[in-house]
């Protein structure tokens, strides 16, 4: 199909669907806790409100304080657009796009962290430190996972990598990627998105000083990232691409929902880890992905 | 040539070596050296069959230089520096003696094992030379007073001179003379330096001469 109307469609999908995910998660958490909880569309309201608010900026902050979130948001969305959607394949697949995707997320991290350093607040510095430190292990795990997928599929194109037979290591891969998802999106047990005790936060504390449209961009980018990871995880495990379109759509949905539910359940049942335990968990995820890689490499001897 | 007479002189020289090793008085050390020089000076006559002016010259020069001039010089220095005897030498007198004696025996043994021309086979030239050289080294290494070391150096030179006598006919006497001259001048220079040191440090104890070091 021609890119002319495919690009807007995908864009719309990512931009519009993404804010739904946090809403769903919150709903599930509320349900588990037996509360009514905020409406599913809460994030949409927040974004709309923030977009209309004015900005409070520290006199120490340079224009990078505003531009950082923009760069981060664009990077995340671009990464999302690189991700193939089931049989529809990817819009601009080329060998090595998987790595581009990872480094786009790195770019987003860089921009957010830079913006967070701007106001020179001790707390935000703390958030940055934690973010970039844990990212080291998370990124390692993702690359390992991608290497496993490409070894399994014998290709470096995402659309080929994400359309495999259910490989031997899929279970390990799923576990690893899910952990990374939790870490990268600052969910429990790594971080608590709706605590207000700054000392314990990672992502939230980085955006303390942001307000108005930039904050909106940050929040929306975060939701897109969350959806991106869930879709990636689903396609990495389920052979979605092989199915006919409607079935594939259903499968995607059927795949993403459990992820979301899983996140919700984890958030409601687990407590946040102590920070010194975090690297341990992430290393476990890293090892899981490595084992998946080994199995894929030795298993699929092409 | 007169082998027995020669050996007698060499034996005398070897005895003087032991005396030099055993004597604690610097003066007697110098005296031993001068006697040894005289003995050496006499040897060319015994070695040569017929009279030759060169040989005579060498002999006389040796006698005068080694036997008279140098000891005189050293004696003067000794009196100037008021040195009577060698105090606690690095190698004690008894050990020196034993070393020297052992060395002499070893020298004789060594000389047997070395190939020698028939006319030298009978002489004590080689053992005497080796023994004297050894004595010289013991004195150089084992004594503290500069004068004793100079005497040691002289005895060393005497040993080499003894060895040189093996070649006195073969090599042109010009060479011999030159060598002799050099040795004598060398000792003169040493004597002068000893004198200078005596003035600069007003002592001849080499234990004071250890400023230059790493």
């Amino acid at each position: 199909m021609s890119h002319l109307w495919e690009l807007p469609l995908r864009l719309a999908f990512w931009l519009l669907v993404a804010p739904l995910v946090p809403g769903l998660i919150n709903r599930i958490k509320a349900w588990v806790a037996g509360r009514r909880g905020p409406p599913v569309l809460q994030l949409y309201y927040d974004l709309a409100r923030l977009w209309r608010k004015q900005v409070v900026k520290s006199p120490l902050a340079s224009p990078g304080f505003i531009l950082g979130p923009a760069v981060a948001w664009v990077a995340v969305v671009a990464a999302a657009l690189l991700l193939p959607l089931g049989p529809a394949g990817s819009i601009a697949g080329f060998p090595g796009d998987a790595l581009v995707l990872v480094y786009l997320l790195a770019l987003a991290r860089f921009a957010t962290a830079w913006a967070a350093m701007e106001p020179g607040s001790a707390f935000e510095g703390m958030g940055v430190v934690r973010e970039v430190s844990f990212a080291v292990l998370a990124e390692g795990s993702i690359i390992a996972a991608l290497l496993a997928l490409s070894a399994q599929a014998g290709s470096l194109r995402l659309d080929a990598m994400l359309a495999p037979m259910v490989g031997t290591g899929s279970a390990l891969l799923a576990a690893g990627l899910f952990t990374v998802l939790l870490a990268e999106n600052c969910r429990v047990p790594f971080d608590d998105p709706n605590t207000h005790l700054e000392l314990t936060m990672i992502h939230e504390v980085m955006v303390l000083d942001h307000s108005g449209p930039p904050l909106a961009a940050i929040l929306h980018g975060a939701s897109v990232k969350l959806l991106l990871f869930s879709v990636l995880l689903v396609q990495a495990v389920l052979p979605v691409a092989g199915l006919p379109p409607w079935l594939a759509g259903a499968a995607l949905l059927a795949g993403v929902l459990p992820v979301v539910v899983g996140i919700g359940l984890v958030e409601s049942l687990l407590a946040r880890l102590a920070f010194r335990r975090v690297p341990l968990l992430l290393t476990t995820a890293f090892l899981l992905c490595l084992f998946a890689l080994l199995m894929a490499w030795k298993g699929g001897t092409a | 040539m007169n082998t027995s007479g020669l050996n007698l002189l060499i034996g005398l020289a070897m005895g003087l070596n032991l005396l030099a090793l055993g004597s604690g008085r610097v003066s007697s050390l110098i005296r031993a050296v001068s006697f040894q020089g005289m003995a050496l000076g006499a040897m060319p006559f015994l070695l040569s069959h017929e009279f030759s002016p060169w040989v005579t010259l060498v002999a006389i020069a040796t006698m005068v230089g080694k036997g008279w001039v140098i000891p005189l010089l050293l004696g003067r220095a000794m009196r100037a520096a008021h040195i009577e005897r060698e105090i606690d030498p690095l190698i004690g007198f008894v050990p020196s003696l034993l070393l020297g004696a052992g060395g002499t025996i070893a020298a004789i043994a060594l000389a047997r094992s070395l190939p020698l021309r028939p006319e030298h086979a009978g002489t004590l030239l080689v053992p005497g030379a080796v023994a004297s050289i050894l004595t010289g080294f013991i004195l150089l290494i084992g004594r503290n007073k500069a004068l004793s070391q100079v005497c040691g150096y002289l005895i060393l030179e005497n040993g080499i001179y003894l060895f040189g006598l093996l070649l006195i006919h073969a090599t042109p006497l010009l060479v011999e003379a030159g060598i002799l001259l050099d040795v004598t001048v060398g000792v003169f220079v040493i004597g002068i330096i000893v004198d200078r040191i005596q003035r600069a440090f007003d002592t001849l104890d080499t234990r004071k001469l250890t400023v230059l070091r790493e």
Binding site: Q54, S58, P59, A106, L107, A122, A135, P213 | I141, L209
Partner: protein
């Protein structure tokens, strides 16, 4: 044509060196002209406009006829030299060394040695005679030494200089052996392809030591941090941008011309991976801005060597295409690191000059006074962190492609490629942390001292190079395929079979398209959000430090604190120097804790060894105790020993 350009460059450099003794302006013009000529020559050959240049002259130097050649590989490095050289020249024109030290000869000396360094670097690149290679190699080391110690009244500077000199000489000695063995094996000093002489393969290990030491290969990098940190800005730029690349050049050159042992690829790739990881970890924990950059150079050399190692391993597999990809990546990364790191060092030099300190914890908030430096530094930092759409990513991406394909190929090379990928990935994330630290602590937040608050951007002659290099880095990132032909010819010059490295062109073109698009979208996104924010209106308020009313500069994150978390994971080999004073009593007086990074390899490996040797030396020197008697005894002992040797030998014969 090429010859004329090079001759002109030589003459201009020579005249410049002379003119520089008296006045700086003619020196500037001549040197810039020389670099322009070098760039022209390099580009002409590199892009294939001119054929490879090979020139044998009857003029002999040290009894050897001059033999120069400029092929794709040399051209690639020559262009790098010209670019960084030109930037450094302009920068040096304004860089006031004499304000640091009281000897006023320094600037003139600097100009002289600078031209010498440029000349000898170029000489090494273009000559094809072992003897002359050694001459150029040794002389550029000496020139670099005198440039490092320009500010020689400072003790730290002299120490760094001596360490550099000593370490380099160790490498040079290995190269002495290398070239002498080569010459005695081939019977001539002339260099050239000898790929069939398989008995020469073991020589590679000597080359690896010699060139690796110069390149700052990980365990041999001990001289690098202090030298780069203590040299003037433009000197560090040239050292890190070009001089250490000469080691890479040497490795490429002789791994391409000579056969290499079967295990060479594995070793190079392993050392590269090790260096990549260790280098960036050391960089992250530094507190001195220029030391941080220096360690980052160690990391990037590691990345380049990973690429080279893959290229050496490729022949193991039926289709070596992936090796060529990795090689192209390594070459591209050589350029990128050369230019970006030069940019960063020039920026760091500007900061150090404006504020008088290199301690990141004492800096901060410089963006207001030094906007140009901040922006250009940001560009360099992002490129070094390997972020799209900049050049750093393009190079690393190619290497990734190569390694991934190696793994996908399920060949034995996968055992090496997999870990290398992991090292690259971890290093990438660590580099991001490193440069957030550098940029954030130095340029953002509150100025931490009045001097820092008053710091201003340097003058035009120092700003110009910064801007030019930043633009260059961005261009390399946006249109990397522009470099593809040079890469192809360089790889072709490396080994003919690698000619097919044009394989790197298509992916680069794709990436370029993506980069351009991304850049455009980023720009658009930025503009949109900026205008929206302006439209909504901005009110200034104090940093909301969680309600803390008076955020003071004492509350900033310090360099040590920033890297504390990750540093904690690697204490076992970082082994920092810790000092801690706990608060006591109800009204505690001053309490502190500080961690100072150490150069572990130098201080825990090299220094003890040296101390051991010194102990032996002291013991031996005691034998020269001034007692004549023992001296004579030594002579006797000597005679005895010689006698024993003769006896023993006589007994045998």
């Amino acid at each position: 044509m090429i010859g004329a350009l090079l001759l002109f460059a030589t003459v201009a450099l020579g005249l410049g060196a002379l003119a520089g003794r008296w006045s700086s302006r003619p020196w500037l013009l001549l040197t810039l002209a020389a670099t322009a000529a070098l760039a022209a020559a390099g580009l002409a050959v590199g892009t294939g406009l001119a054929p490879d240049w090979d020139w044998r002259s009857a003029f002999t130097l040290g009894g050897q006829p001059l033999h120069l050649r400029l092929d794709g590989l040399s051209a690639l490095f020559l262009v790098l030299l010209a670019g960084v050289g030109a930037a450094g020249t302009a920068y040096a024109f304004a860089y006031p060394i004499h304000t640091h030290s009281s000897d006023h000869g320094a600037p003139a000396r600097g100009r002289f040695w600078w031209n010498g360094l440029l000349f000898h670097l170029g000489f090494v690149l273009v000559n094809a005679n072992g003897l002359h290679f050694l001459i150029g190699w040794e002389l550029f080391t000496v020139c670099a030494y005198f440039l490092i110690v320009l500010d020689r009244r400072k003790w730290a500077v002299r120490q760094a200089g001596w360490l550099y000199l000593a370490a380099s000489h160790a490498g040079t000695v290995a190269l002495f052996a290398f070239f002498a063995l080569l010459a005695s094996a081939t019977g001539s000093w002339d260099l050239g392809p000898l790929r069939t002489r398989t008995e020469l393969a073991p020589l590679f290990w000597l080359a690896l030591f010699g060139f690796g030491l110069k390149a700052g290969l990980f365990p041999l990098h001990v001289w690098l941090p202090s030298a780069h940190a203590n040299a003037p800005g433009h000197v560090s730029a040239l050292l890190s941008g070009v001089a250490i690349k000469m080691g890479v050049y040497g490795l490429l050159r002789f791994s391409g011309w000579l056969p290499v042992p079967a295990s060479a690829g594995w070793v190079v790739l392993g050392l590269g991976a090790l260096g990549t990881f260790a280098g960036i970890v050391f960089a992250l924990v530094q507190t001195d801005l220029k030391r941080l950059l220096a360690y980052c150079s160690v990391e990037n050399i590691g990345i380049i060597l990973i690429g080279l190692g893959a290229a050496l391993l490729a022949p193991l597999t039926a289709d070596g295409a992936w090796g060529r990809l990795a090689l192209a990546g390594a070459l591209l990364h050589t350029w990128n690191h050369g230019f970006a790191k030069a940019l960063l060092f020039l920026g760091a030099g500007a900061v150090a000059h404006a504020t008088g300190t290199r301690e990141m914890t004492r800096l901060g908030g410089l963006w207001r006074g030094m906007p140009v430096t901040t922006l250009t530094f940001l560009v360099g930092a992002a490129s070094m962190a390997g972020l799209p759409p900049l050049a750093g990513f393009a190079g690393e991406w190619l290497i990734y492609l190569g390694l991934f394909e190696a793994v996908v190929g399920h060949g034995p090379a996968g055992w090496a490629a997999g870990p290398a990928v992991m090292a690259l990935a971890l290093a990438g994330a660590l580099a991001l942390a490193t440069f957030i630290k550098a940029g954030g602590l130095v340029f953002l937040g509150t100025p931490r001292s009045p001097a820092v608050a008053g710091a201003r951007d340097p003058g035009g002659w120092m700003r110009g190079p910064l801007i030019a290099l930043a633009v260059l880095v961005m261009l390399l990132g946006l249109v990397p395929f522009a470099a593809a032909p040079l890469l192809a010819r360089a790889a072709g010059a490396w080994r003919p079979l690698a000619e097919g490295v044009t394989a790197s062109a298509p992916p680069l073109a794709t990436l370029a398209r993506f980069h351009l698009l991304l850049a455009a979208v980023l720009l658009a996104g930025g503009v949109v959000l900026w205008r929206r924010t302006r439209a909504q209106g901005v009110t200034l308020g104090p940093t909301w430090d969680c309600g803390y009313a008076q955020p003071s500069r004492r509350m900033h994150y310090t360099a040590g604190g920033f890297s504390g978390t990750i540093g904690g994971w690697f204490t076992w080999f970082l082994r920092p120097a810790r000092s801690l004073r706990r608060p006591h009593g109800p009204f505690p007086d001053r309490a502190f804790t500080r961690e100072d990074p150490r150069e572990t390899v130098l201080e825990d490996l090299v220094r003890p060894t040296g101390a051991g040797v010194l102990r032996i030396s002291t013991a031996v020197r005691r034998l020269q105790h001034g007692r004549l008697q023992s001296y004579i005894l030594y002579i006797l002992i000597g005679v005895g020993a010689l006698g024993l040797i003769v006896l023993f030998h006589g007994g045998r014969s």
